[in-house]
């Protein structure tokens, strides 16, 4: 325990340097801006800005990206409350009571409780993260290649099972990503695979090329089909303050939201969206008088806002300890870390303690920064909300081009990103989720390498994957997570049938 605190102190010594403090501030502001801007989602926003971290040291880069991640969540809740438009899926629930509060002239308290709830949840969850991370890492250090292969399979299947309406389409998207990851020179034999004689493909298709194409470019192409012409009117904010009565009413909702959110965030198959829905549901059930929910009950803002922030921190547990992303955003961060030459997972904890502890310390800073910056800046965010969407789309594409070309200086990459953009547009248009494909590209190379190493150990027998207890458990969990949408549906049906 004392070791954890001395490491955390070390982390603060990394995060509190003037440069890193500046990046945390810049990240929080840019993140909130992305969250507030109409027409660009948090994942695309972070993807096109990854090149900014190019050439930075890994600790600063991760501090910037984490602060941006936090900022997007905060910005998303601001739009939920003020214009009834959730910035992302995890703040959908916030619109229920948040927008109602704003319409009743209580936008100030709603925004304040969202910020304070996020702060409380972030702070408590980071303690949870530290307590969880160390034991998981010591377990993960015993993993061999067979366990790693099964672990990545679990990561892929959990993201796939929750993405989109059709499991078959989500799996096709995952296979597409894995197929793209096999392009280029095979690391263990030096054989060029699927390069079609194009020298630029020998290094493989870059993760950023795929991420910017499938997330950002396709998002813009889909959005210009029908551009909302109605002006988005924000509810007037008034003074952002919180009466003691409101704070006291929300305190337990925040704590419960934090606990629910953190645990759900740690689970690989679930994320901030489910966490926020569950936290809202729990508050409604526990309330003595639930009739106010949906009509502007402050607990209906406090609980989901705490839960989605706690889940965002919980999501960092599998990412930092096992190298497993549980959501699109953490998949993007994993790709960014790998571009910086850092492989998240138990070895990162040993090899790059400055990144690991610096990141954890910077989460505290990011939280504090958002609390200090955002409440006074609400007026500015409201103005940004009013920017018409059609102005943003060409500019997003202009930044995407920097994102792809600025890193590699390759026209081939740029054209590939355009191609992935068109493919992503088709996929989104026809219900194929794009996140599993991007995750497949990120994890594919490692997955193949660990499978091959595992089979070297077993002399070519696939049985090694089920003979080792941990890998067997991971395989079963993968199967369960793929079946989970069906299991949940079956359970609901069973529940709703009359009982005798």
């Amino acid at each position: 325990m004392t070791e954890v605190f001395s490491s955390l102190a070390y982390g603060f010594s990394v995060a509190l340097t003037p440069t890193n403090l500046m990046w945390a501030t810049v990240g929080s502001i840019i993140g909130t801006l992305i969250g507030v801007l109409p027409g660009i989602g948090p994942v695309s926003g972070i993807a096109i800005l990854i090149p900014v971290t190019y050439g930075m040291n890994p600790a600063s880069a991760m501090i910037l990206l984490t602060a941006m991640y936090y900022g997007t969540m905060y910005g998303g809740s601001t739009t939920s409350i003020l214009v009834n438009v959730p910035g992302e899926a995890s703040s959908v629930v916030t619109t229920l009571d948040g927008y109602q509060m704003a319409r009743q002239g209580r936008a100030g308290p709603a925004l304040a409780i969202a910020a304070i709830g996020s702060f409380v949840a972030g702070t408590f969850s980071i303690v949870g993260l530290m307590l969880f991370a160390v034991p998981i890492i010591s377990l993960a250090l015993k993993f061999g290649p067979a366990e790693y292969f099964c672990l990545m399979l679990l990561g892929l299947s959990s993201v796939t099972s929750l993405a989109g309406k059709s499991l078959v389409k989500a799996l096709l998207s995952m296979v597409l990503g894995l197929v793209v990851s096999t392009i280029g020179v095979d690391l263990s034999t030096g054989i060029a695979r699927y390069t079609f004689g194009i020298p630029q493909l020998l290094d493989g298709v870059g993760f950023l090329v795929v991420a910017i194409g499938l997330f950002a470019i396709s998002e813009v192409l889909l959005a210009v089909e029908e551009i909302a012409t109605a002006k988005r009117e924000a509810v007037p904010v008034g003074r952002v303050w919180l009466a003691w009565k409101d704070f006291a009413a929300s305190w337990w909702a925040m704590i419960r939201g934090t606990v629910i959110g953190f645990y759900i965030g740690v689970l690989p198959a679930a994320g901030a969206t489910i966490a926020s829905f569950m936290a809202y549901d729990v508050e409604k059930r526990l309330a003595k008088d639930p009739s106010g929910f949906g009509k502007g009950d402050i607990r209906g803002v406090a609980a989901p806002e705490s839960a989605n922030n706690a889940a965002a921190v919980g999501n960092m547990v599998p990412l930092l300890t096992l190298g497993l992303p549980g959501s699109s955003t953490t998949a993007i961060m994993l790709g960014a870390l790998m571009m910086l030459g850092i492989q998240p997972g138990p070895l990162m904890y040993q090899k790059n303690p400055d990144v690991f502890w610096g990141l954890i310390a910077s989460m505290y800073l990011g939280n504090t920064m958002l609390l200090i910056l955002n409440l006074p800046l609400v007026g500015l965010w409201v103005k940004i909300l009013a920017i018409p969407e059609r102005i943003l789309y060409p500019l997003i594409l202009g930044v995407s081009v920097i994102g792809v070309y600025g890193v590699s200086g390759s026209l081939t990459d740029l054209l590939l990103a355009c191609g992935f953009g068109l493919l992503g547009y088709y996929m989104r248009r026809h219900d194929y989720p794009v996140a599993p494909a991007v995750l497949g590209v990120v994890l594919g190379g490692l997955m193949e390498q660990s499978l091959r190493q595992a089979l070297v150990l077993s002399d070519g027998s696939y049985w090694i994957l089920v003979q080792r207890p941990i890998s067997l458990v991971l395989l079963i969990l993968s199967a369960v997570s793929l079946a989970s949408p069906y299991l949940i549906a079956a359970f609901r049906k069973f529940q709703s049938e009359p009982q005798f």
Binding site: P51, V52, Y54, G55, K165, S166, V168, K169, L171, L172, V175, L178, V179, T182, D186, S188, T189, I191, R193, Y194, I217, V220, L221, L222, V224, E225, E226, I227, R390, I391, Y393, P394, L395, L397, G398, V399, V401, I402, Y405, G406, V407, G409, L411, L414, L415, C418, G421, L422, Y425, R429, H430, D431, M447, E448, L451, R452, L455, V456, D459, G460
Partner: protein, 154 residues
Amino acid sequence: MGQRSHDSLAAILVAAACIAYLWGAQGFQSPLVADPLGPSAFPTILGWSGLLLAAVQIILAWTGRSSPEESPGSIRGYLKPLVLFALLVVYALVLEPAGYVLATFAFVVISFLMLGEPLWRGGLIAAGFSTGFYYLFVKILKINLPAGMLFRGW
């Protein structure tokens, strides 16, 4: 074309791509004895998984259990994204000869016109954006972007 025929057509294309992919995997011969799987095993697994999924998708589409019917979208709906995509490709191709500032300015102004932004305001925004971002990324963040003919030595 309804969602069902869309799904079948896509599945057939996916299956064809998987067959080509599997055929390509045949050609990778490993010189190493110590690597029992070799470079072709993982692609082979992926190729067969893709074929299997494509088959399932066709069956689901034919038995009417594919994802619910959605509005297929008119040709007009597809027009704007496709024009914007074509503009983007042209933008990419002229980026190196024209330089980031000029190419971006032209791309943003033309897309603004297509999306219905008045010329004077669009032109101002495009000029500010292209020069501002060039300055930010090249001079401050030290990321390489093509300068083009006009701004060489800038």
